[in-house]
């Protein structure tokens, strides 16, 4: 192993011209700013343009909306994070409905078959929304496992407008991620899709077929 490493590094260092660092000016990105209604309109517009369902709602009303959507989409089993405010609120509102909530609080090895083949939808919390591209910003971790937003064919996400950032750059800086990254940081900008078969757009390839955003204040 080390021999290749040393050879590669040596050859790179031996390059006749070693370079000094090249400065980068991020103004062109920092200049991108949208405020208030403009931001909401842009965010929801971009999401809807790629088949994302966006429901504008409130911090109080979203659980009821979720219940309504689960019924409409015939969701019988909903996976969620047990220990987050969103997960708890959802469990609470769905308690007396026909929707069974399943907490993602076991290691995936213990219930893989179930998650992959017997869960209709997943619910997660977005840490933020990026206005420039209409993207959800998710920080995964012990509370919010990675497969929750990926495996079930329907993905419900709760996002607050208060957590908007103009750009990914702004979001990364806001969360101080240069100093240390969680295992997995995700941007999700729509349902899974492909145009690989003669450029025909098809939704729902490997990731969720439906992305449903509950956008609160």
């Amino acid at each position: 192993m080390s021999r290749s490493r040393e050879n590669i590094l040596r050859r790179l260092r031996d390059s006749r011209e070693t370079g000094a660092a090249v400065g980068r000016d991020f103004t062109v990105i920092e200049d991108l700013q949208w405020s208030g209604d403009e931001a909401v309109a842009r965010f929801t517009g971009l999401m809807r343009a790629v088949n994302t369902e966006v429901h504008e709602t409130t911090r109080e009303a979203w659980p009821a909306k979720l219940a309504e959507l689960c019924a409409a989409k015939q969701v019988t089993r909903l996976a969620l994070a047990a220990d987050t405010p969103v997960g708890q609120a959802a469990r609470s509102v769905l308690l007396d409905t026909s929707v069974e909530t399943v907490a993602y609080s076991r290691d995936i090895e213990d219930w893989r078959e179930e998650l992959f083949f017997q869960v209709d939808a997943g619910l997660s919390t977005a840490a933020g929304g990026i206005v420039e591209t209409g993207s959800l910003f998710l920080l995964t971790g012990p509370d919010e496992p990675r497969l929750l937003s990926l495996v079930p064919p329907i993905h419900f996400v709760v996002l607050s407008r208060a957590d908007f950032a103009n750009t990914l750059l702004e979001m990364l800086r806001r969360h101080g991620l240069a100093a240390g990254m969680p295992t997995n940081v995700l941007l999700i900008s729509g349902p899974s899709k492909t145009a690989d078969i003669e450029q025909t757009l098809v939704y729902g390839v490997h990731g969720p077929r439906q992305l449903v955003v509950l956008l609160t204040d």
Partner: protein
């Protein structure tokens, strides 16, 4: 003409004669060019963004050894094991080794052009390990036993009908369904089980961040995320040039790549991985490996001008805008990377003996350089590689430099030099041509003459007329 070059010309002719290739690529490239143009409505902003993208890449290449060391250290801190491979053979052995240590029988693949460079699937297959492509386009070409014909849309050369036939032929229990949605469902179902069962997931890397020890992957389908999350082991393979210094550096590239490639604001998923499953986490691989491949890149890096080749972020804008690629399609090039980037990269990886003729298949129109989001001066690189291909001084920095030099062509240019370096000889030659009244349609002119009128020399040259007019000095 050597054999590889002859075969190249044969493949070109086959493609030009194939109405489906012509129609598919023309339609697809037109669509992609329009989509890209729509996504960059402000020319000033685009140029500033390209400047920033180019600066990010140049900075990374200027400090490449230091950044690779930093990347390795940070990855190690994060629990990612870093491997270095000088050659594709070595790279394949490393992946095999990891698979064997885990008694892996099946590998699921996210999209990776570097793994195509390695011919990894074939290699693993020889050791009884099934490597299955999960990206739909790659899955299709794998079933068909072909190379991808485009670096972003691998199956762009095929029609729905052909794909339906392919599925019906190769997949057990699947009938003929000429419908993109239905075909996608079939692939999704099959691959879902494969994700579920896979022992190892192999992916590429779009950008590796030295500052944080992170791997950034972008995609639309979700197979990249599944490949890097579901199996217990994740192996990421990349060329050494894909590193960037800081996390912030990724942002202009993410702004440029999807828009340049397919006219999307952003890909459906942007996936930033910084380690295997941590304590308390419920999913994710137990082991993450990063394999850094050289395969000729250090040689390219050594030359400051050729180093620019390594700025590439594999967006495909160059081939989408290339009038040659639109007419011959990806397979005609016969290489892992086709189109303009292929023409400058492949001679440096494989050498001028094998593919030294590739840079000649260009009219140097410059459409590629005009759209490259990181400002690689592709036309300049094409001319540079043409020079290296005929440079027989022994001092060429490119593998196989001089291999394309032919006695007859060199003699032709020596003759051209003699005539054009001597004003008297030149005037004599041009006056002779005017006196003859024409040029014989022989040799190279025969090709011209088959579809065009051969131009006739004028009765008097400009030299003569301006002499008469009194402007000559």
């Amino acid at each position: 003409m050597d054999k590889p070059t002859r075969q190249f010309h044969v493949r070109i002719q086959e493609a030009l004669n194939d109405p489906q290739i012509r129609a598919n690529f023309r339609r697809a490239m037109d669509g992609l060019m329009t989509k890209r143009a729509n996504m960059f409505p402000d020319p000033d902003e685009l140029e500033r963004l390209r400047d920033l993208g180019a600066a990010v890449r140049r900075n990374a290449l200027a400090q490449l050894p230091e950044l690779l060391e930093r990347l390795e250290a940070k990855c190690a801190e994060n629990g990612i094991t870093v491997h270095w491979a000088e050659s594709v053979d070595e790279a394949n052995r490393i992946v095999l080794d990891i698979c064997r240590r885990h008694s892996a029988k099946s590998v699921i693949k996210g999209k990776s052009m570097v793994s195509e460079e390695m011919e990894l699937n074939h290699y693993l297959g020889e050791f009884g390990i099934e490597a299955l492509e999960a990206d739909l386009g790659e899955y299709i070409v794998q079933l068909a036993g072909q190379l991808p014909s485009h670096i972003v849309m691998p199956a762009i050369h095929m029609n729905t009908r052909q794909i339906a036939e392919l599925f019906a032929e190769k997949l057990e229990g699947v009938g003929y369904i000429e419908d993109a949605e239905e075909l996608t469902k079939v692939a999704r179902e099959i691959l879902r089980h494969k994700f579920f069962d896979a022992d190892v997931g192999v992916s590429g890397v779009n950008f590796a961040v030295a500052e944080t020890g992170s791997l950034v992957l972008i995609e639309n389908e979700g197979n990249g995320r599944l490949t890097t999350t579901a199996p217990p082991v994740h192996v990421a393979v990349t060329g050494i040039e894909k590193v960037v210094e800081n996390l912030a550096d990724v942002t202009p590239l993410l702004s440029l790549l999807p828009r340049s490639a397919t006219g999307q604001n952003v890909t459906t998923y942007v996936n930033m991985i910084s380690g295997p499953r941590r304590d308390g986490e419920r999913d994710g691989p137990q082991e993450v490996h990063l394999l850094l491949l050289d395969n000729g890149r250090t040689r390219t890096h050594a030359d400051p001008e050729l180093r620019q080749t390594l700025q590439c972020i594999r967006c495909s804008a160059c081939m989408n805008h290339c009038p040659v690629y639109a007419r011959i399609g990806g397979h005609a090039y016969g290489t892992v990377y086709p189109g303009p980037i292929g023409e400058i990269l492949m001679p440096q990886i494989l050498g001028c003996e094998e593919v030294g003729a590739l840079p000649g298949a260009s009219s140097l129109c410059g459409a590629c350089g005009e759209v490259c989001p990181v400002r690689i001066p592709i036309p300049k690189m094409l001319v540079r590689l043409r020079k290296e291909a005929v440079d027989n001084t022994g001092a060429s920095p490119v593998k196989g430099g001089g291999a394309q030099r032919s006695f007859s062509e060199a003699a032709t240019w020596k003759g051209w030099e003699k005539v054009h370096a001597s004003p008297a000889l030149y005037r004599l030659a041009t006056r002779t041509a005017t006196a003859m009244g024409g040029l014989p349609a022989l040799g190279p002119l025969k090709t011209w003459a088959s579809v065009r009128e051969v131009p006739k020399p004028a009765a008097k040259t400009l030299h003569q007329r301006l002499e008469e007019r009194g402007n000559s000095r």
